[in-house]
Amino acid sequence: MARSDRARLSPAALRMTALLLLIALYTAYSAGPFVWVAMMSLRTTTEIAASPYGLPWPAHPEKFAAAWFDSNYDTYFANSVGIVLAAVAILTVVGAMAAHAFARYRFRFKGLIYFVIFSTIIFPPQVTVIGLFQTMVEFGLYNSRVGLVLVYVAIQLPITIYILEAFFARIPRDLFEAARIDGYGEWAIFWRISMPVALPAISTTVILNTILLWNEFLYAVVLITDDDKRTLPLGVLRFLGDQLEDVGMIATGLMIAIVPVVLIYVFFSERLIQGMTAGAVK
């Protein structure tokens, strides 16, 4: 019975099998490096040198403690958390306000303003960095965490506004008008109608910005020099320089930087995808 079933495997089932195989390959290809680094993070460099692709057995979790305390990772971690949280909070509120205004109000030069905000994406980071460096130095924000937060807000704001605006524009105008007739002003409408209704899109931007800024290092390299103000990606870079020969320790450092992102993604990915596809599903 089972055999004859297999013999009569339909073309649809065959295609499905092929597809699954493809997905498995793609996943292995994408996740492979991650798993490899993860394994190395639990092994010593000597072990790795003996067998680069070996399993982490015996494991050396104490390497994490070493990286954390001996290599300033506690400071980097705290800096990253503080800077990313502040930047994401400002981005969310300012981005939502801008999106609300673009989606709801007719005003003169609306197209122009939208255009100007988006025009910033044409400048290659190399050029932006020059200008930002100059600006930061002049305003006394160079080598300061506040300055980095502001830069992060500036570079992520256009895409944040873009994602939110698309969602805000789909909130029916009637809702706002009903709230106006119910006696609420523009400010109250923003906080009590727009924000809660747009929650799926807002979650998306929060997660997206958190992941992107957590990993950001180009601007941080240029704008931060003091070791005690460095974020995690800078810590990893320094690590790469300091411990050039110690592959195992480098892997441990990388894992400390990556694990929070993976956790965020694992817990919130459904919400992220949901918000991103909200347009499609309607």
């Binding site: 029916p172 009637d174 809702l175 008008e177 009903a178 709230a179 106006r180 007739i181 119910d182 006696g183 609420y184 002003g185 109608i193 809660p196 209704v197 929650l199």
Partner: protein, 355 residues
């Protein structure tokens, strides 16, 4: 309660006049229906009353107080939207109380009032549901409840029944009439559906191209349309309109005549007659029009017979279910002269008849 008065009100959109010279007085406790085809300005007029659109010209007063510059939230009006506009993230309870909370700080009073209204319109079992978990009829009811809760001076309705299915529409119509009777409130109701207008309105204001075409009770506007637009808009099928020429003591259509005197001979007019005022006659001499049957529509309860008379449009006769007519048969149609309406052929305005 309140008298709503519009004087010479107009609305300009970037230089284009969407609404002009609107003069309407809605009496205290009256149910006024704004009726017209889409784009006639009825919704814009309602939105100007609500304060959702600025008033470009003229004056709006409620109880004698000028409202032009008063923001929507201070006009003490409530509005039921076509889409219902329920807040999707709030429960039915919070939807009902949202407007009240803004004005009434005492939460216990708000809760009591919400419970009271929910009970009255049968929403009590659904108070903790979110709008997406309600049926279309229940959502409509929440929208209605949200308006009632606030006990406003004026209720505004923007096609509130158009998203309901036919059966629900009929029952909600009756319920709104009852509600109006009970609350005795001033209500302004926008619709494009003439059945709603005829059955619900104390008076009907028919609008066309941003202007008021006629205001009157439902039967007034149906029986004595002020112009050909109203005549052709009301009724399903609408009034038959055909050109006619005055002669000595009679009005001649292309294929018959009517004993109407008083017009200067030779004057051309538009003659109107409702499909239900026509009847088949055997006597060609008595016929108002004659012609060949081009279509017979048996609708079940009644039959519509289309008769081609040589004019642009066929004349339609509304008849009972039993009516029989063969295609291409010639019919002579007569009507009581009192049922005929005359309109100026140029302006379309009704001509009053002294006979």
């Amino acid at each position: 309660m309140a008298v709503v008065k519009l004087e010479d009100v107009g609305k300009l959109y970037g230089g284009v006049r969407a609404v002009r010279d609107v003069n309407i007085t809605v009496e205290d406790g009256e149910f006024m229906v704004l009726l017209g085809p889409s784009g006639c300005g009825k919704s814009t007029t309602l939105r100007m009353i609500a304060g959702l659109e600025t008033i470009s010209e003229g004056e709006l007063t409620i109880d004698g107080r000028r409202m032009n510059e008063v923001p929507a939230r201070d006009r003490d009006i409530a509005m039921v939207f076509q889409s219902y506009a329920l807040y999707p993230h709030m429960s039915v309870r919070d939807n009902l109380g949202f407007g009240l909370k803004r004005r009434q700080k005492d939460r216990a009073l708000v809760a009591r009032r919400v419970a009271e209204v929910a009970e009255a319109i049968g929403l009590t079992p659904y108070l903790d549901r979110k709008p997406h978990a309600l049926s279309g009829g229940q959502r409509q009811r929440v929208a209605l409840g949200r308006a009632i809760v606030r006990d406003p001076k004026v209720f505004l309705f923007d096609e509130p029944l158009s998203n309901l299915d036919a059966a629900l529409r009929v029952s909600t119509r009756a319920e709104l009439v009852r509600l109006h009777r009970e609350l005795g409130a001033t209500m302004i109701y926008v619709t494009h559906d003439q059945v709603e207008a005829m059955t619900m309105g104390d008076r009907v204001c028919i609008m066309d191209h941003g202007e008021v075409a006629q205001i009157g009770t439902p039967m007034e506007v149906y029986l004595n349309p002020a112009n050909t637009f109203v005549a052709a808009f009301l009724g399903n099928p609408p009034m038959n309109l055909m050109p006619a020429t005055a002669a000595e003591g009679a009005l001649r259509t292309g294929t018959g005549q009517a004993p109407i005197a008083g017009l200067s001979p030779g004057r051309r007019v538009t003659l109107g007659v409702r499909p239900e005022d026509l009847a088949v006659t055997d006597d060609p001499a008595r016929a108002l029009v004659s012609g060949r049957v081009t279509q017979v529509e048996a609708l079940g309860a009644e039959t519509l017979i289309h008769v081609a008379t040589g004019d642009e449009k066929p004349v339609i006769l509304r008849s009972g279910r039993a009516a029989q007519a063969r295609l291409d048969e010639t019919l002579h149609l007569a009507a009581d002269p009192a049922a005929l309406r005359l309109f100026d052929i140029e302006t379309g305005r009704a001509i009053s008849r002294e006979m």
